[in-house]
């Protein structure tokens, strides 16, 4: 054993790799970034642009073959009443789900961030994440059973002699239907349930970073709890709410399974894409439909940034 201060004797293959990486930090960064950059850049963005390109082609109405020539005809088709209805319906549903998810999530996230400690925090995470462990289809079918005419909700209303209330609600046009499981209210409830964790977790993370003294300072300066919420807590939690809304909004915009299982027969964007690229073989129109959520999300984020939603970041 030598007593050398500089231990240059350790020259195994791993040690040499470590030494090389230590001497070349840029190489390290390159190696770390290359796989995800390839994945995102080539596979993801590449297919996105391929999709975008498809949407500028059109389909020959007689032969059903794709004409590979640049045209905006397919986009114009989106604005025919039947297709435009699908877009409006989907955006309305996504907005309603997002707003409801934010309202439901906030108190849960606030409790978790402010009061839950130790064991209760673990229970909170478990409670929020547990539904994500089971299959999405199982959850949706469970909800179909809950909401069906023979389901537990109907039974509950009957037992409480409140069937008239449910019937009155279901007779409301648009949001009502024969039973909850074939109404948009049902679709909405299932969307809300399935995407809720994606809203709770970012809000909780944002609230976690708001120190208690911030709210005390607001109260100290004369703000009632309501004013503190409006002027301090909400602005500071907004990046979390926006992050959550990106999930709930875009997931609802693109989903095609939930409205197919629970809800009325009227279609959403996801179902339209599914139908056009599958049975109908109208790839250009399917692509154009798929571009809609991307554009909507882009506009949404741009507006949120302009409104200062990310100022607290």
């Amino acid at each position: 054993m030598s007593d050398a201060i500089l231990d240059t004797g350790r020259n195994g293959i791993m040690a040499r790799i470590s030494d090389t990486l230590w001497r070349n930090p840029r190489l390290t960064v390159l190696l770390l970034l290359a796989p995800p950059a390839l994945w995102l850049g080539v596979v993801y963005l590449g297919s996105l642009f391929a999709l975008l390109a498809q949407s500028f082609f059109s389909i020959d109405e007689f032969s059903g073959l794709i004409i590979y020539e640049f045209t905006l005809k397919t986009y114009a088709e989106l604005f025919t009443p039947a297709n435009f209805d699908i877009i409006v319906r989907t955006v309305m549903m996504a907005s309603a789900v997002t707003i409801a998810a934010a309202i439901v999530s906030f108190p849960i996230a606030y409790y978790a961030a402010r009061y839950a400690r130790g064991k209760w925090k673990a229970i909170f995470y478990l409670g929020v994440m547990l539904p994500l462990w089971s299959s999405y289809l199982v959850k949706v079918y469970s909800w179909k059973l809950i909401l069906a005419k023979e389901g537990i909700l109907n039974w509950l209303f009957e037992t409480l002699h409140l069937s008239w209330l449910l019937d009155a609600y279901l007779s409301i046009p648009i949001i009502g239907g024969n039973s909850l499981s074939v109404s948009w209210t049902g679709t909405f409830l299932v969307f809300l349930y399935v995407w809720l964790p994606f809203m709770i977790l970012p809000i909780q993370a944002a609230l976690e970073r708001v120190p208690r003294s911030m709210l005390e300072a607001s109260g100290d300066l004369g703000a009632t709890p309501g004013q503190s919420f409006r002027f301090v807590l909400l602005p500071l939690a907004l990046p979390g709410v926006i992050a959550g809304s990106i999930f709930t909004f875009s997931l609802t915009l693109g989903d095609y399974i939930i409205p197919q299982i629970v809800g009325s027969s009227r279609r959403f964007i996801g179902q339209a894409v599914y139908a056009y690229q599958g049975t109908a073989g109208n790839i250009p129109l399917a692509a154009a439909f798929a571009v809609v959520p991307i554009v909507i999300m882009g506009v949404y984020l741009w507006a949120a940034k302009r409104k200062g939603a990310f100022d607290a970041l």
């Binding site: 005390e216 300072a217 100290d220 703000a223």
Partner: protein, 329 residues
């Protein structure tokens, strides 16, 4: 003289922990009052009780003669400078300072003008458009001060406001705070664990230990005439002399305190051994052992510095030893 804040038998318990235990205080209007004590001694909880963030478990708090029982923080004309400043990160400096006025419905023009004036008061003119994250620690501290002062509170509470600043800035802020308090005439209640800060700034100091106030008085009284060993030890680390040693010198059997700078070394007095010396710049600190008791002497420049291990004698002037009442004797 009006009392700004009065505590009558106030306690605040957290489960079995008695954070504040049967405390009586009377803080006069326009006074600079310091609450001094080690961490966990209950001083910050007392401040939070005045602000309204905590409610007392027992006892009564009144602010300018009015009972504060059940009054929430936002209904108290008392403002706080927080230890971590608690500036709102999403608002710029001007809007941070104007926050209190915005809440009370003052128009944008008026509140921005008042905020500008408050920033001028703390020497931060022209910083209004910046975000708190763009300021240094000292500047944030000033913004927090301006934000608390803009509401023209009757009592200003300061929770270790200088704790995060470096020494030079802290000394400068101490002087500025004192000057500001004189200028505005507002009652300042200042919490600190730094005895130097409390002694140099406050009109009166309350020393806290384990949830109780152990002594209240002027800085000189606290420093030269500690009433209990804890105060002697905590405030400027006086030597605490046990009764059997005091008896030999004064004839009275009682615990006493002697300031380190009053301890003289020489040929007369009680025999002692030098254990360590350290050079502090303006003086040298000498640790001594005297009949099994640890003592510290501060020798001014020019005095003879003994070697470690040397045997010497310790004495002090008759006026320099202060007898304390000792409950545990």
């Amino acid at each position: 003289m009006t009392s700004a804040v009065v505590f009558k038998g106030v306690s605040r318990h957290f489960g079995s922990v008695r954070a504040v235990d049967n405390v009586d205080i009377s803080i006069a209007e326009g006074e600079f009052f310091a609450m001094l004590g080690p961490s966990g001694s209950g001083k910050t909880t007392c401040l939070r009780l005045i602000a309204g963030f905590e409610q007392p478990t027992a006892g009564e708090i009144s602010i300018f003669g009015q009972s504060a029982q059940g009054v929430p923080p936002y209904k108290r004309h008392v403002n706080t400078v927080f230890q971590d400043y608690a500036l709102f990160p999403h608002l710029n400096v001007l809007d941070n300072v104007a926050y209190g006025l915005m809440i009370s419905g003052v128009s944008k023009r008026d509140r921005h003008q008042a905020a500008e004036e408050a920033l001028e008061l703390v020497a931060l003119t022209g910083y209004g458009a910046r975000k708190p994250s763009e300021l240094s620690g000292g500047q944030r501290q000033r913004v927090a001060l301006a934000r608390a002062l803009v509401n023209k509170p009757k009592v200003l509470l300061l929770d270790e406001p200088l704790g995060a600043l470096d020494l030079k800035l802290r000394e400068q802020m101490q002087e500025e705070l004192k000057a500001l308090q004189r200028k505005l005439g507002i009652t300042f209640v200042f919490v600190t664990h730094d005895q130097g800060e409390a002694l140099s700034m406050a009109d009166r100091v309350a020393v806290f230990n384990e949830g109780k106030i152990v002594q209240v008085g002027k800085p000189e009284d606290i420093y030269y005439r500690p009433e209990v060993p804890f105060v002697a030890d905590f405030v400027g680390s006086s030597n605490v002399i046990p009764p059997h040693v005091t008896e030999k010198v004064t004839g009275t059997r009682a615990t006493a305190s002697v300031r380190p700078e009053a301890v003289k070394l020489g040929d007369s007095g009680l025999p002692a051994t030098v254990r360590a010396t350290s050079f502090l710049g303006t003086s040298t600190r000498v640790s001594l052992e005297l009949e099994g008791v640890q003592m510290v002497a501060l020798l001014a420049k020019g005095q003879n510095i003994p070697e470690v291990g040397e045997h010497t004698h310790v004495s002090w002037g008759e006026d320099d030893i202060h007898l304390m009442e000792t409950a545990d004797e």
